[in-house]
């Protein structure tokens, strides 16, 4: 699978409260409503400027904090196709995969890729392309690839 999109770049320790504030966590909102609150407390312009297929690039420990799955869900509903970070918080990483959102930890790519640029990801072969540079990452094991292909853990289990 090839993913290509425009980059929204953020810093280190982007936590789940700024991605999806706690005040919405126990409200059962629609996908569009959730998308409209994505990254609300970090970048209030994000929901307006994000386009389908865009990519987030960030520093270390992306998604730290709460276990709220909506942090991954709201980004997916906002149109984000992949997140490349220096590192991910453990629960966010699981939530992203389980929501069918590609999450790739790659320090070099996370440092080099510039805000607003176009990045191409070859998921199955583990290659990120930016400018003239190529960054390699370990492709996911078949189980994780199939969860991503099915659009997340719940649809994956529905098909099992």
């Amino acid at each position: 699978m090839i993913i290509e999109g425009k980059v929204h770049k953020y810093g280190d320790d982007i936590n789940t409260d700024v991605i999806y504030p706690g005040k919405y966590t126990y409200q059962q909102l629609t996908e569009d409503e959730m998308a409209s609150h994505a990254l609300e407390d970090l970048d209030c312009e994000f929901a307006r400027k994000v386009k389908q297929g865009d990519i987030i690039v960030a520093g270390k420990n992306f998604g730290c904090g709460s276990s709220r799955e909506q942090a991954a869900a709201c980004l997916k509903y906002a149109g984000i196709s992949a997140i490349i970070a220096d590192s991910f918080s453990r629960i966010f990483f699981r939530n992203a995969i389980n929501f069918g959102l590609l999450a790739i930890a790659n320090s070099e790519a996370a440092k080099s890729i510039e805000n607003g640029s176009i990045v191409k990801i070859d998921r199955d072969n583990g290659i990120i392309e930016f400018d003239d540079k190529k960054f390699k990452f370990s492709p996911y094991p078949p189980l994780v690839q199939s969860i991503l292909d099915d659009g997340g853990l719940i649809p994956h289990l529905q098909q099992a």
Partner: protein
């Protein structure tokens, strides 16, 4: 090569003799925890072609996050959860008023040495204080465990932390764990298991140990394990929900690193806005005006925490222009501090007593801050917007420091009061 506690618990929950670091194993957790998010999880569960929860005894559900409900939507969530509980014959259900899930789970004897617990809440790490391997997972994953009884996990590396000697007067386990997080960073234990050792831990109460395990996740940890001992067994006597076998690390277990701390050198600290690893001595921010003080939560809402606050506030008043909110972690704790006079001392000082529950910690339904207001809190997160308003500022501290700051109306070193 020997095995860590995390390796041993993951091995014996996945049918393996031993497991390697980095190995992915399919485990059957002893318990899976959920709270108000059970309403949303049950909708995910309904999408799976499964009639009922596979093992209702595995599920523990506690309503705590938005209790009592402040909106019709929250009330409807609770109603859906009660219906789900009834339909699936879930026996381990605790309705609003019993307390915060992590405290209730522990008091009711589900948190046991050698067990594996997964929960749809990041502070599920708390049960490490009883020698359990316990970690947060997402909502989809809980739905999957309800359907199948099992989940995949990666075997983590472990970091050993050894703490020696006695914490000085006015310094609590909250100062210790904040100091550690400040040193190693919010990602210092990312995907790793922390194991805590040393005579400081041996001499700590169960309540103080729970603070360490609870906050382990704020350094990114998967588990925050304290080897069980006589105190653990005493706490669990007449309480444990089932028989347990304590698990200890082998002498030659492999650790990624070993960190050593001298408790005598720990001073009162705060985590300043807006990250938990932004830790500085209280003296560096002393004098900062505070509008609201919170004492409570799954981190510091136990009887000893309120007694620490009462030690400071007995015979004193909170400063004019400062609000002090108390939210005990459980109904049992509330009863205990009512009967021993702690509540009376705190209310006499001007505190507001709230019902047991998550309270204002997560900004979902009460105790929200106004623009530009400052809160000093014994909770676990100070992220921007955490308490419901991105224009406010949260400092994390011990109950001693919170109480001293309530009395002075500004951030204050508690040692001045003791």
């Amino acid at each position: 090569m020997g095995q860590t506690i995390a390796q041993k618990i993951l091995a014996n929950h996945s049918g393996n003799e031993t497991v390697k670091i980095g190995q992915i194993v399919t485990v059957i957790p002893d318990y899976v925890l959920s709270h108000d998010n059970t309403a949303a999880i049950s909708k995910k569960f309904a999408r799976l072609s499964v009639d009922k929860v596979k093992n209702p005894q595995q599920s523990v559900i506690v309503l705590d996050h938005t209790v009592p409900p402040s909106t019709a939507q929250y009330a409807n969530n609770h109603k859906q959860i009660r219906e789900f509980v009834e339909l699936n014959n879930i026996e381990h259900f605790y309705d609003i008023g019993r307390g915060i899930c992590h405290q209730v789970f522990s008091e009711e004897g589900f948190a046991l040495p050698g067990t594996l617990v997964l929960g749809a809440d990041s502070h599920t790490t708390t049960y490490g204080a009883f020698g359990a391997a316990s970690a947060g997972i997402g909502r989809s994953e809980v739905a999957a465990v309800w359907a199948t009884g099992e989940m995949w996990l990666m075997v983590p590396q472990s970091i050993k932390i050894i703490i020696s000697n006695t914490l000085p007067k006015g310094v609590s386990s909250k100062d210790l764990i904040l100091t550690i997080i400040g040193d190693i960073g919010a990602d210092g234990a990312l995907y790793k298991s922390l194991e805590f050792y040393g005579d400081t831990i041996d001499n700590m109460t169960i309540a103080s140990r729970m603070v360490l395990s609870n906050m382990a996740v704020e350094a990114g940890a998967k588990f925050g394990i304290i080897p069980p001992d006589n105190k653990t067994d005493e706490y669990l006597e007449n309480r444990a929900k089932k028989r347990y076998i304590s698990i200890f690390a082998d002498d030659d277990a492999e650790y990624e690193k070993v960190l050593e701390y001298n408790a005598e050198n720990i001073v009162p600290v705060v985590a300043a806005p807006h990250t938990v690893d932004n830790v500085v001595p209280v003296k560096d921010v002393a004098g900062k005006k505070v509008n609201q003080v919170l004492i409570g939560s799954c981190t510091n809402g136990r009887a000893e925490d309120f007694r620490m606050a009462a030690e400071i506030l007995d015979g004193r008043k909170i400063a004019k222009g400062t609000r002090l909110l108390l939210f005990p972690a459980s109904s049992k704790i509330l009863m205990e501090i009512l009967l021993d006079g702690t509540v009376e001392k705190l209310l006499s000082a001007g505190a507001i007593l709230m019902n047991p529950g998550c309270g204002p910690c997560l900004g979902a339904h009460e105790g929200v801050l106004a623009d530009d207001e400052v809160c000093i809190s014994t909770t676990n997160r100070n992220f921007k917007g955490r308490m419901g308003n991105p224009k406010s500022f949260v400092y994390l501290a011990s109950p001693y420091t919170a109480a001293a700051s309530a009395s002075a109306g500004k951030i204050t070193d508690p040692r001045e009061f003791l």
